[in-house]
Protein backbone atom coordinates (compact mmCIF):
# COMPACT_ATOMS: atom_id res chain seq x y z
CA UNK A 1 0.00 0.00 0.00
CA UNK A 2 1.46 3.30 -1.03
CA UNK A 3 0.92 6.65 0.56
CA UNK A 4 0.37 9.50 -1.84
CA UNK A 5 0.14 13.12 -0.79
CA UNK A 6 -3.25 14.43 -1.88
CA UNK A 7 -1.69 17.55 -3.40
CA UNK A 8 -0.12 15.35 -6.04
CA UNK A 9 -3.22 13.37 -6.91
CA UNK A 10 -4.81 16.00 -9.14
CA UNK A 11 -1.69 15.80 -11.27
CA UNK A 12 -2.24 12.12 -11.93
CA UNK A 13 -5.93 12.48 -12.49
CA UNK A 14 -6.36 15.69 -14.38
CA UNK A 15 -6.37 15.96 -18.10
CA UNK A 16 -4.90 19.43 -18.04
CA UNK A 17 -2.01 20.03 -20.38
CA UNK A 18 1.46 18.94 -19.50
CA UNK A 19 2.61 22.51 -19.50
CA UNK A 20 0.30 23.42 -16.67
CA UNK A 21 1.43 20.33 -14.81
CA UNK A 22 5.01 21.39 -15.23
CA UNK A 23 4.18 24.84 -14.01
CA UNK A 24 2.51 23.42 -10.95
CA UNK A 25 5.44 21.16 -10.27
CA UNK A 26 7.87 24.02 -10.73
CA UNK A 27 5.83 26.14 -8.40
CA UNK A 28 5.73 23.39 -5.85
CA UNK A 29 9.47 23.00 -6.04
CA UNK A 30 10.19 26.70 -6.33
CA UNK A 31 8.11 27.69 -3.40
CA UNK A 32 8.56 25.64 -0.31
CA UNK A 33 7.13 22.19 -0.60
CA UNK A 34 5.58 22.69 2.79
CA UNK A 35 3.37 25.48 1.55
CA UNK A 36 1.91 23.44 -1.23
CA UNK A 37 1.33 20.46 1.02
CA UNK A 38 0.03 22.36 4.00
CA UNK A 39 -3.53 21.46 4.86
CA UNK A 40 -3.30 18.21 2.99
CA UNK A 41 -3.25 15.01 4.87
CA UNK A 42 -1.77 11.81 3.56
CA UNK A 43 -4.41 9.69 1.96
CA UNK A 44 -4.03 6.02 1.45
CA UNK A 45 -4.39 4.67 -2.05
CA UNK A 46 -7.57 2.72 -1.82
CA UNK A 47 -8.47 0.47 -4.68
CA UNK A 48 -7.14 -1.50 -7.55
CA UNK A 49 -7.06 1.49 -9.88
CA UNK A 50 -4.54 3.08 -7.57
CA UNK A 51 -6.72 6.09 -6.88
CA UNK A 52 -6.96 7.31 -3.34
CA UNK A 53 -10.46 7.83 -1.95
CA UNK A 54 -11.39 11.50 -2.02
CA UNK A 55 -11.03 13.41 1.20
CA UNK A 56 -14.11 14.18 3.29
CA UNK A 57 -17.39 12.39 3.53
CA UNK A 58 -17.59 11.45 -0.15
CA UNK A 59 -14.59 9.17 0.26
CA UNK A 60 -15.74 7.47 3.47
CA UNK A 61 -17.08 4.36 1.84
CA UNK A 62 -13.93 3.66 -0.16
CA UNK A 63 -11.67 4.51 2.75
CA UNK A 64 -13.55 2.25 5.14
CA UNK A 65 -13.70 -0.58 2.61
CA UNK A 66 -9.93 -0.35 2.30
CA UNK A 67 -9.48 -0.22 6.06
CA UNK A 68 -11.65 -3.31 6.50
CA UNK A 69 -9.77 -5.22 3.85
CA UNK A 70 -6.54 -4.36 5.58
CA UNK A 71 -7.60 -5.00 9.17
CA UNK A 72 -10.59 -7.31 9.53
CA UNK A 73 -9.03 -10.72 8.84
CA UNK A 74 -5.49 -9.65 9.56
CA UNK A 75 -6.00 -7.88 12.87
CA UNK A 76 -9.51 -7.82 14.31
CA UNK A 77 -10.40 -11.53 14.08
CA UNK A 78 -6.99 -12.70 15.40
CA UNK A 79 -7.22 -10.14 18.21
CA UNK A 80 -10.66 -11.41 19.19
CA UNK A 81 -9.52 -15.04 19.00
CA UNK A 82 -6.49 -14.41 21.18
CA UNK A 83 -8.12 -12.14 23.76
CA UNK A 84 -11.56 -13.71 24.01
CA UNK A 85 -12.64 -14.77 27.48
CA UNK A 86 -14.83 -17.83 27.80
CA UNK A 87 -18.33 -16.71 28.77
CA UNK A 88 -18.41 -19.11 31.73
CA UNK A 89 -15.25 -17.53 33.13
CA UNK A 90 -16.55 -14.05 32.34
CA UNK A 91 -19.77 -14.74 34.20
CA UNK A 92 -17.83 -15.73 37.31
CA UNK A 93 -15.75 -12.55 37.13
CA UNK A 94 -18.80 -10.36 36.46
CA UNK A 95 -20.50 -11.76 39.53
CA UNK A 96 -17.62 -10.34 41.60
CA UNK A 97 -17.47 -6.90 39.96
CA UNK A 98 -18.34 -5.47 36.55
CA UNK A 99 -15.63 -2.83 36.74
CA UNK A 100 -12.92 -5.24 37.88
CA UNK A 101 -13.87 -7.71 35.17
CA UNK A 102 -13.90 -4.86 32.68
CA UNK A 103 -10.45 -3.64 33.66
CA UNK A 104 -8.97 -7.12 33.48
CA UNK A 105 -10.79 -8.57 30.48
CA UNK A 106 -12.41 -5.73 28.57
CA UNK A 107 -12.17 -2.26 27.13
CA UNK A 108 -13.97 0.84 28.41
CA UNK A 109 -16.17 2.42 25.78
CA UNK A 110 -17.17 6.04 25.87
CA UNK A 111 -15.37 7.07 29.06
CA UNK A 112 -16.64 6.78 32.59
CA UNK A 113 -20.25 5.66 32.78
CA UNK A 114 -20.00 3.99 29.40
CA UNK A 115 -20.25 0.30 28.98
CA UNK A 116 -17.49 -2.30 29.03
CA UNK A 117 -16.72 -4.14 25.82
CA UNK A 118 -15.51 -7.73 26.11
CA UNK A 119 -14.03 -10.07 23.54
CA UNK A 120 -15.80 -13.37 24.24
CA UNK A 121 -16.02 -16.98 23.13
CA UNK A 122 -18.01 -20.06 24.09
CA UNK A 123 -19.53 -23.31 22.92
CA UNK A 124 -23.18 -24.05 23.37
CA UNK A 125 -26.46 -25.21 21.94
CA UNK A 126 -28.68 -22.90 19.90
CA UNK A 127 -32.05 -23.22 21.61
CA UNK A 128 -33.79 -20.66 19.45
CA UNK A 129 -32.93 -19.12 16.12
CA UNK A 130 -35.13 -16.07 15.58
CA UNK A 131 -35.30 -14.76 12.06
CA UNK A 132 -38.67 -13.07 12.45
CA UNK A 133 -37.03 -9.75 13.18
CA UNK A 134 -34.60 -8.19 10.74
CA UNK A 135 -32.34 -7.94 13.75
CA UNK A 136 -32.06 -11.72 13.78
CA UNK A 137 -30.74 -13.51 16.87
CA UNK A 138 -29.87 -16.93 18.22
CA UNK A 139 -30.23 -17.81 21.89
CA UNK A 140 -27.42 -20.01 23.18
CA UNK A 141 -27.44 -22.31 26.15
CA UNK A 142 -23.86 -22.57 27.35
CA UNK A 143 -24.14 -24.34 30.70
CA UNK A 144 -26.59 -27.02 29.52
CA UNK A 145 -29.51 -26.06 31.75
CA UNK A 146 -31.82 -25.47 28.79
CA UNK A 147 -31.93 -21.72 29.45
CA UNK A 148 -30.38 -19.08 27.18
CA UNK A 149 -27.16 -17.65 28.57
CA UNK A 150 -26.25 -15.38 25.68
CA UNK A 151 -27.71 -14.03 22.46
CA UNK A 152 -25.86 -14.02 19.16
CA UNK A 153 -26.73 -11.28 16.68
CA UNK A 154 -27.23 -12.76 13.23
CA UNK A 155 -28.30 -9.70 11.24
CA UNK A 156 -29.15 -8.44 8.79
CA UNK A 157 -29.57 -5.57 11.25
CA UNK A 158 -26.93 -5.64 13.97
CA UNK A 159 -27.21 -3.44 17.04
CA UNK A 160 -24.36 -1.57 18.68
CA UNK A 161 -20.71 -1.03 17.92
CA UNK A 162 -19.03 -3.69 20.05
CA UNK A 163 -16.88 -4.97 17.20
CA UNK A 164 -15.45 -1.54 16.52
CA UNK A 165 -15.04 -0.55 20.16
CA UNK A 166 -13.47 -3.80 21.33
CA UNK A 167 -10.26 -3.00 19.42
CA UNK A 168 -9.16 0.60 20.03
CA UNK A 169 -5.63 -0.43 19.09
CA UNK A 170 -6.92 -1.21 15.59
CA UNK A 171 -9.72 1.37 15.33
CA UNK A 172 -8.77 4.56 17.18
CA UNK A 173 -11.48 7.25 17.19
CA UNK A 174 -8.97 10.10 17.17
CA UNK A 175 -7.69 8.91 13.79
CA UNK A 176 -11.12 9.42 12.22
CA UNK A 177 -12.53 12.66 10.86
CA UNK A 178 -15.61 12.67 13.06
CA UNK A 179 -18.37 10.58 14.62
CA UNK A 180 -19.95 9.95 11.24
CA UNK A 181 -16.91 8.35 9.67
CA UNK A 182 -16.34 6.35 12.85
CA UNK A 183 -19.99 5.27 12.85
CA UNK A 184 -19.76 4.14 9.25
CA UNK A 185 -16.86 1.93 10.29
CA UNK A 186 -19.02 0.43 13.04
CA UNK A 187 -21.75 -0.38 10.57
CA UNK A 188 -19.32 -1.80 8.01
CA UNK A 189 -17.78 -4.08 10.64
CA UNK A 190 -21.20 -5.37 11.68
CA UNK A 191 -22.20 -6.01 8.08
CA UNK A 192 -18.94 -7.80 7.40
CA UNK A 193 -19.32 -9.98 10.49
CA UNK A 194 -22.83 -11.22 9.75
CA UNK A 195 -22.06 -11.75 6.06
CA UNK A 196 -19.79 -14.62 7.03
CA UNK A 197 -22.23 -16.43 9.34
CA UNK A 198 -23.94 -19.74 8.58
CA UNK A 199 -27.09 -19.46 6.44
CA UNK A 200 -30.43 -18.55 7.98
CA UNK A 201 -32.26 -21.47 9.53
CA UNK A 202 -29.17 -23.67 9.79
CA UNK A 203 -28.49 -23.09 13.47
CA UNK A 204 -31.62 -24.23 15.31
CA UNK A 205 -30.75 -27.02 17.71
CA UNK A 206 -27.11 -27.15 16.67
CA UNK A 207 -24.09 -27.04 18.91
CA UNK A 208 -21.86 -24.16 17.94
CA UNK A 209 -18.56 -22.59 18.89
CA UNK A 210 -18.32 -18.85 18.50
CA UNK A 211 -16.01 -15.87 18.96
CA UNK A 212 -17.20 -12.27 19.10
CA UNK A 213 -17.59 -9.11 21.09
CA UNK A 214 -20.22 -7.85 23.51
CA UNK A 215 -20.98 -4.59 25.25
CA UNK A 216 -22.15 -4.80 28.86
CA UNK A 217 -23.56 -2.02 31.00
CA UNK A 218 -24.46 -4.18 33.97
CA UNK A 219 -23.17 -7.45 35.42
CA UNK A 220 -26.55 -9.13 35.19
CA UNK A 221 -27.66 -8.46 31.61
CA UNK A 222 -27.59 -11.31 29.15
CA UNK A 223 -24.67 -10.71 26.76
CA UNK A 224 -25.75 -9.63 23.27
CA UNK A 225 -22.86 -10.77 21.10
CA UNK A 226 -21.73 -9.78 17.62
CA UNK A 227 -20.00 -12.95 16.44
CA UNK A 228 -17.16 -12.92 13.93
CA UNK A 229 -16.96 -16.69 13.87
CA UNK A 230 -19.76 -19.24 14.36
CA UNK A 231 -18.76 -22.84 13.71
CA UNK A 232 -21.34 -25.60 13.74
CA UNK A 233 -20.07 -28.72 15.47
CA UNK A 234 -20.09 -31.77 13.21
Amino acid sequence: MAWVPCALRPLFLSSISVRIMRMKLLMAVGMTAFVSLAGCKLVKTGNAEGQAPVAGEAGDEARIAALLQETYDAKLVPLLRSKATDLVTLRTELAKSLDEAGKALGVRAGGAGGSWIFPVKASGKIIEENRQSKAGTASVDIDGDGQADATLQLGTVVKGTALRDVAPSVYDFSKFRDQIEFAKLGRALNDKAVSALPAAGSLQGKTVTFVGATSLRSATEKPLIVPVVVEIAP
Binding site: A109, G113, S133, D178, I180, A183, R217
Partner: protein, 312 residues
Protein backbone atom coordinates in the same frame (compact mmCIF):
# COMPACT_ATOMS: atom_id res chain seq x y z
CA UNK B 1 -22.10 50.94 9.84
CA UNK B 2 -19.20 48.68 10.50
CA UNK B 3 -17.58 51.40 12.59
CA UNK B 4 -20.67 51.80 14.74
CA UNK B 5 -20.85 48.07 15.29
CA UNK B 6 -17.24 47.98 16.44
CA UNK B 7 -17.84 50.84 18.79
CA UNK B 8 -20.84 49.02 20.17
CA UNK B 9 -18.90 45.82 20.59
CA UNK B 10 -16.09 47.50 22.47
CA UNK B 11 -18.63 49.18 24.68
CA UNK B 12 -20.16 45.81 25.48
CA UNK B 13 -16.72 44.36 26.11
CA UNK B 14 -15.71 47.21 28.38
CA UNK B 15 -18.90 47.04 30.39
CA UNK B 16 -18.44 43.31 30.97
CA UNK B 17 -14.78 43.75 31.86
CA UNK B 18 -15.88 46.37 34.35
CA UNK B 19 -18.22 44.00 36.09
CA UNK B 20 -15.81 41.05 35.94
CA UNK B 21 -12.61 42.67 37.16
CA UNK B 22 -13.52 42.42 40.83
CA UNK B 23 -14.16 38.71 40.57
CA UNK B 24 -11.08 38.09 38.44
CA UNK B 25 -8.89 39.54 41.15
CA UNK B 26 -10.38 37.34 43.80
CA UNK B 27 -9.83 34.05 41.99
CA UNK B 28 -9.07 32.68 38.58
CA UNK B 29 -12.09 32.64 36.34
CA UNK B 30 -13.39 30.08 33.88
CA UNK B 31 -15.84 31.26 31.21
CA UNK B 32 -18.78 28.93 30.50
CA UNK B 33 -20.41 29.74 27.17
CA UNK B 34 -23.45 27.77 25.97
CA UNK B 35 -26.63 28.22 23.95
CA UNK B 36 -29.66 29.69 25.73
CA UNK B 37 -30.63 28.19 29.08
CA UNK B 38 -34.25 28.11 27.86
CA UNK B 39 -33.39 24.56 26.85
CA UNK B 40 -32.75 22.76 30.17
CA UNK B 41 -30.03 20.72 28.49
CA UNK B 42 -27.79 23.75 28.17
CA UNK B 43 -28.69 24.91 31.65
CA UNK B 44 -27.58 21.52 32.97
CA UNK B 45 -24.28 21.96 31.15
CA UNK B 46 -23.73 25.42 32.61
CA UNK B 47 -24.75 24.27 36.10
CA UNK B 48 -22.50 21.23 35.92
CA UNK B 49 -19.52 23.27 34.77
CA UNK B 50 -20.10 26.04 37.31
CA UNK B 51 -20.45 23.55 40.16
CA UNK B 52 -17.19 21.82 39.24
CA UNK B 53 -15.42 25.17 38.77
CA UNK B 54 -16.48 26.26 42.24
CA UNK B 55 -15.39 22.93 43.70
CA UNK B 56 -11.94 23.43 42.16
CA UNK B 57 -11.67 27.01 43.44
CA UNK B 58 -12.55 29.01 40.34
CA UNK B 59 -14.98 31.81 39.75
CA UNK B 60 -17.18 31.24 36.75
CA UNK B 61 -18.40 33.66 34.10
CA UNK B 62 -21.57 32.18 32.62
CA UNK B 63 -22.60 33.49 29.20
CA UNK B 64 -25.08 32.47 26.50
CA UNK B 65 -24.72 32.94 22.75
CA UNK B 66 -28.24 31.91 21.66
CA UNK B 67 -26.78 30.00 18.72
CA UNK B 68 -25.58 33.23 17.15
CA UNK B 69 -21.97 32.99 15.98
CA UNK B 70 -21.52 36.80 16.02
CA UNK B 71 -22.77 36.99 19.56
CA UNK B 72 -20.43 34.13 20.46
CA UNK B 73 -17.55 36.05 18.93
CA UNK B 74 -18.37 39.06 21.11
CA UNK B 75 -18.57 36.83 24.18
CA UNK B 76 -15.12 35.46 23.38
CA UNK B 77 -13.80 39.04 23.20
CA UNK B 78 -15.33 39.70 26.59
CA UNK B 79 -13.90 36.54 28.09
CA UNK B 80 -10.46 37.27 26.65
CA UNK B 81 -10.60 40.86 27.92
CA UNK B 82 -11.62 39.59 31.34
CA UNK B 83 -8.50 37.43 31.43
CA UNK B 84 -10.26 34.13 32.03
CA UNK B 85 -7.99 31.10 32.44
CA UNK B 86 -10.08 28.81 30.26
CA UNK B 87 -13.26 28.72 28.24
CA UNK B 88 -15.82 25.92 28.41
CA UNK B 89 -17.83 26.12 25.21
CA UNK B 90 -20.91 24.54 23.70
CA UNK B 91 -20.47 26.27 20.37
CA UNK B 92 -22.71 28.20 17.99
CA UNK B 93 -21.70 26.52 14.75
CA UNK B 94 -19.14 23.91 13.71
CA UNK B 95 -17.44 26.11 11.10
CA UNK B 96 -18.21 29.55 12.46
CA UNK B 97 -16.74 28.82 15.90
CA UNK B 98 -13.25 27.86 14.75
CA UNK B 99 -12.10 31.49 14.43
CA UNK B 100 -13.31 32.46 17.90
CA UNK B 101 -11.66 29.46 19.55
CA UNK B 102 -8.44 30.16 17.65
CA UNK B 103 -8.52 33.81 18.70
CA UNK B 104 -8.64 32.77 22.35
CA UNK B 105 -5.89 30.22 21.78
CA UNK B 106 -3.67 32.91 20.24
CA UNK B 107 -4.16 34.95 23.41
CA UNK B 108 -3.10 31.96 25.49
CA UNK B 109 -6.60 31.01 26.62
CA UNK B 110 -7.44 27.33 26.11
CA UNK B 111 -10.95 26.23 25.11
CA UNK B 112 -12.66 23.00 26.15
CA UNK B 113 -15.58 22.10 23.95
CA UNK B 114 -18.58 20.11 25.05
CA UNK B 115 -21.61 18.67 23.26
CA UNK B 116 -20.81 19.90 19.73
CA UNK B 117 -17.71 19.36 17.62
CA UNK B 118 -15.98 22.01 15.55
CA UNK B 119 -14.59 21.21 12.12
CA UNK B 120 -10.91 21.89 12.84
CA UNK B 121 -8.69 19.82 15.12
CA UNK B 122 -5.82 21.27 17.14
CA UNK B 123 -7.54 24.56 17.98
CA UNK B 124 -9.41 23.53 21.11
CA UNK B 125 -7.60 21.55 23.81
CA UNK B 126 -10.49 19.14 24.30
CA UNK B 127 -13.63 18.32 22.36
CA UNK B 128 -15.77 16.14 24.60
CA UNK B 129 -18.93 15.22 22.77
CA UNK B 130 -21.71 12.77 23.28
CA UNK B 131 -21.61 9.98 20.80
CA UNK B 132 -24.68 11.33 19.06
CA UNK B 133 -24.53 8.71 16.36
CA UNK B 134 -24.42 5.86 18.85
CA UNK B 135 -27.22 7.53 20.81
CA UNK B 136 -29.33 7.99 17.70
CA UNK B 137 -28.87 4.32 16.85
CA UNK B 138 -30.05 3.36 20.35
CA UNK B 139 -33.12 5.58 19.95
CA UNK B 140 -33.82 4.22 16.48
CA UNK B 141 -33.45 0.59 17.65
CA UNK B 142 -36.06 1.26 20.32
CA UNK B 143 -38.31 3.19 17.90
CA UNK B 144 -38.25 0.35 15.38
CA UNK B 145 -38.99 -2.17 18.13
CA UNK B 146 -41.94 -0.09 19.40
CA UNK B 147 -43.24 0.23 15.83
CA UNK B 148 -43.10 -3.54 15.36
CA UNK B 149 -40.56 -2.98 12.56
CA UNK B 150 -43.20 -1.51 10.26
CA UNK B 151 -45.46 1.47 9.58
CA UNK B 152 -45.54 5.12 8.58
CA UNK B 153 -43.52 7.58 10.58
CA UNK B 154 -42.36 11.18 10.57
CA UNK B 155 -39.03 12.66 11.54
CA UNK B 156 -38.44 16.01 13.23
CA UNK B 157 -34.98 17.33 12.50
CA UNK B 158 -32.97 19.86 14.56
CA UNK B 159 -31.32 23.09 13.58
CA UNK B 160 -29.32 22.69 10.44
CA UNK B 161 -26.27 24.74 11.54
CA UNK B 162 -25.79 22.37 14.48
CA UNK B 163 -23.75 19.32 13.46
CA UNK B 164 -25.70 17.17 15.91
CA UNK B 165 -28.93 17.65 13.94
CA UNK B 166 -27.36 15.94 10.94
CA UNK B 167 -25.47 13.33 12.95
CA UNK B 168 -28.60 12.23 14.80
CA UNK B 169 -30.66 12.11 11.64
CA UNK B 170 -28.01 9.95 9.98
CA UNK B 171 -27.86 7.68 13.00
CA UNK B 172 -31.65 7.27 12.94
CA UNK B 173 -31.70 6.46 9.27
CA UNK B 174 -28.70 4.15 9.48
CA UNK B 175 -30.89 1.88 11.60
CA UNK B 176 -34.42 2.58 10.37
CA UNK B 177 -33.63 2.36 6.66
CA UNK B 178 -32.55 -1.24 7.13
CA UNK B 179 -36.19 -2.07 7.87
CA UNK B 180 -37.94 -1.93 4.50
CA UNK B 181 -41.43 -1.91 6.02
CA UNK B 182 -40.73 1.34 7.88
CA UNK B 183 -41.93 4.20 5.67
CA UNK B 184 -41.01 7.80 6.34
CA UNK B 185 -43.92 9.92 5.12
CA UNK B 186 -42.70 13.32 6.37
CA UNK B 187 -39.42 14.87 7.44
CA UNK B 188 -39.07 18.47 8.54
CA UNK B 189 -36.96 20.69 10.75
CA UNK B 190 -38.43 22.31 13.83
CA UNK B 191 -35.13 23.95 14.79
CA UNK B 192 -34.96 22.25 18.20
CA UNK B 193 -38.01 24.35 19.21
CA UNK B 194 -41.01 23.09 21.15
CA UNK B 195 -43.50 25.57 19.68
CA UNK B 196 -42.21 25.05 16.17
CA UNK B 197 -42.50 21.29 16.62
CA UNK B 198 -46.09 21.71 17.81
CA UNK B 199 -46.98 23.57 14.61
CA UNK B 200 -45.05 21.22 12.35
CA UNK B 201 -46.69 18.20 13.97
CA UNK B 202 -50.16 19.70 13.51
CA UNK B 203 -49.67 20.13 9.78
CA UNK B 204 -47.98 16.74 9.45
CA UNK B 205 -51.01 15.12 11.08
CA UNK B 206 -53.33 16.83 8.63
CA UNK B 207 -51.31 15.66 5.66
CA UNK B 208 -50.62 12.19 7.05
CA UNK B 209 -53.30 11.10 9.51
CA UNK B 210 -52.01 7.51 9.22
CA UNK B 211 -48.77 8.30 11.06
CA UNK B 212 -47.86 5.62 13.58
CA UNK B 213 -44.67 7.10 14.99
CA UNK B 214 -42.55 10.24 15.30
CA UNK B 215 -38.83 10.21 15.85
CA UNK B 216 -37.46 13.54 16.99
CA UNK B 217 -33.93 14.98 16.98
CA UNK B 218 -34.30 16.26 20.51
CA UNK B 219 -36.57 16.26 23.55
CA UNK B 220 -37.96 19.79 23.25
CA UNK B 221 -39.26 18.99 19.75
CA UNK B 222 -40.57 15.64 21.03
CA UNK B 223 -42.50 17.52 23.74
CA UNK B 224 -43.97 19.89 21.15
CA UNK B 225 -44.92 17.01 18.87
CA UNK B 226 -46.50 15.02 21.67
CA UNK B 227 -48.54 18.06 22.77
CA UNK B 228 -49.90 18.38 19.23
CA UNK B 229 -50.68 14.66 19.08
CA UNK B 230 -52.40 14.81 22.45
CA UNK B 231 -54.46 17.82 21.34
CA UNK B 232 -55.54 15.87 18.25
CA UNK B 233 -56.49 12.83 20.34
CA UNK B 234 -53.62 10.80 18.89
CA UNK B 235 -51.87 9.60 22.02
CA UNK B 236 -51.44 6.26 20.26
CA UNK B 237 -48.62 7.69 18.14
CA UNK B 238 -45.21 6.49 19.29
CA UNK B 239 -42.83 9.39 20.04
CA UNK B 240 -39.12 8.98 20.70
CA UNK B 241 -36.86 11.92 21.62
CA UNK B 242 -33.21 12.61 22.33
CA UNK B 243 -31.39 14.31 25.27
CA UNK B 244 -32.90 12.80 28.39
CA UNK B 245 -34.66 15.86 29.81
CA UNK B 246 -36.74 15.76 32.99
CA UNK B 247 -39.80 16.82 30.95
CA UNK B 248 -39.56 13.77 28.73
CA UNK B 249 -38.73 11.58 31.71
CA UNK B 250 -42.01 12.65 33.32
CA UNK B 251 -43.88 12.06 30.07
CA UNK B 252 -42.39 8.54 29.81
CA UNK B 253 -43.42 7.78 33.37
CA UNK B 254 -46.99 8.80 32.50
CA UNK B 255 -46.98 6.63 29.38
CA UNK B 256 -46.81 9.58 26.96
CA UNK B 257 -43.53 9.79 25.07
CA UNK B 258 -42.10 6.28 24.84
CA UNK B 259 -38.33 6.74 24.96
CA UNK B 260 -35.41 9.14 24.76
CA UNK B 261 -31.64 8.92 24.77
CA UNK B 262 -29.67 10.43 27.61
CA UNK B 263 -26.71 12.56 26.80
CA UNK B 264 -24.64 12.86 29.96
CA UNK B 265 -24.63 16.68 29.76
CA UNK B 266 -23.97 17.38 33.42
CA UNK B 267 -21.07 14.91 33.70
CA UNK B 268 -19.67 16.05 30.39
CA UNK B 269 -19.50 19.68 31.47
CA UNK B 270 -17.87 18.63 34.74
CA UNK B 271 -15.31 16.56 32.89
CA UNK B 272 -14.45 19.55 30.70
CA UNK B 273 -13.78 21.71 33.76
CA UNK B 274 -11.67 18.96 35.33
CA UNK B 275 -9.58 18.81 32.16
CA UNK B 276 -9.36 22.62 32.05
CA UNK B 277 -8.09 22.65 35.62
CA UNK B 278 -5.47 20.02 34.82
CA UNK B 279 -4.40 21.96 31.73
CA UNK B 280 -4.17 25.27 33.61
CA UNK B 281 -1.97 23.63 36.26
CA UNK B 282 0.20 21.36 34.13
CA UNK B 283 -0.13 22.48 30.51
CA UNK B 284 -1.71 19.22 29.42
CA UNK B 285 -4.81 17.14 29.95
CA UNK B 286 -3.23 13.73 29.42
CA UNK B 287 -6.05 12.68 27.08
CA UNK B 288 -6.83 13.01 23.37
CA UNK B 289 -8.46 16.18 22.08
CA UNK B 290 -11.47 14.36 20.73
CA UNK B 291 -13.37 12.31 23.26
CA UNK B 292 -16.66 10.53 22.80
CA UNK B 293 -19.08 9.85 25.64
CA UNK B 294 -21.70 7.16 25.13
CA UNK B 295 -25.41 7.89 25.42
CA UNK B 296 -27.91 5.71 27.28
CA UNK B 297 -31.40 4.64 26.22
CA UNK B 298 -34.11 5.85 28.59
CA UNK B 299 -37.51 4.14 28.58
CA UNK B 300 -40.10 3.11 31.13
CA UNK B 301 -37.59 0.65 32.65
CA UNK B 302 -35.09 3.24 33.84
CA UNK B 303 -36.80 6.65 33.54
CA UNK B 304 -37.17 6.90 37.31
CA UNK B 305 -33.39 6.95 37.70
CA UNK B 306 -32.98 10.02 35.46
CA UNK B 307 -32.45 13.44 37.04
CA UNK B 308 -31.14 16.58 35.35
CA UNK B 309 -29.30 14.83 32.52
CA UNK B 310 -27.66 12.24 34.74
CA UNK B 311 -28.58 8.70 35.79
CA UNK B 312 -28.72 8.26 39.53
Amino acid sequence: MRFTKRLFMSAVAISIVGTMSGAALAADTIAIITPSHDNPFFKAEADGAAAKAKELGYESMVLVHNDDANKQNELFDSAIAAGVKAIILDNAGADASVAAVKKAKDKGIPSFLIDREITTAGVAVSQIVSNNYQGAQLGADEFVKLMGEKGNFAELVGKESDTNAGIRSKGYHDVIDQYTDMKMVARQTANWSQTEAFNVMESMLQAHPDIKGVISGNDTMAMGAYAALEAAGRKDVIVVGFDGSNDVRDSIKKGGIKATVLQPAYDQAQLAVTQADKFIKSGKTGVDEKQLMDCVLINADNAAKLETFALK
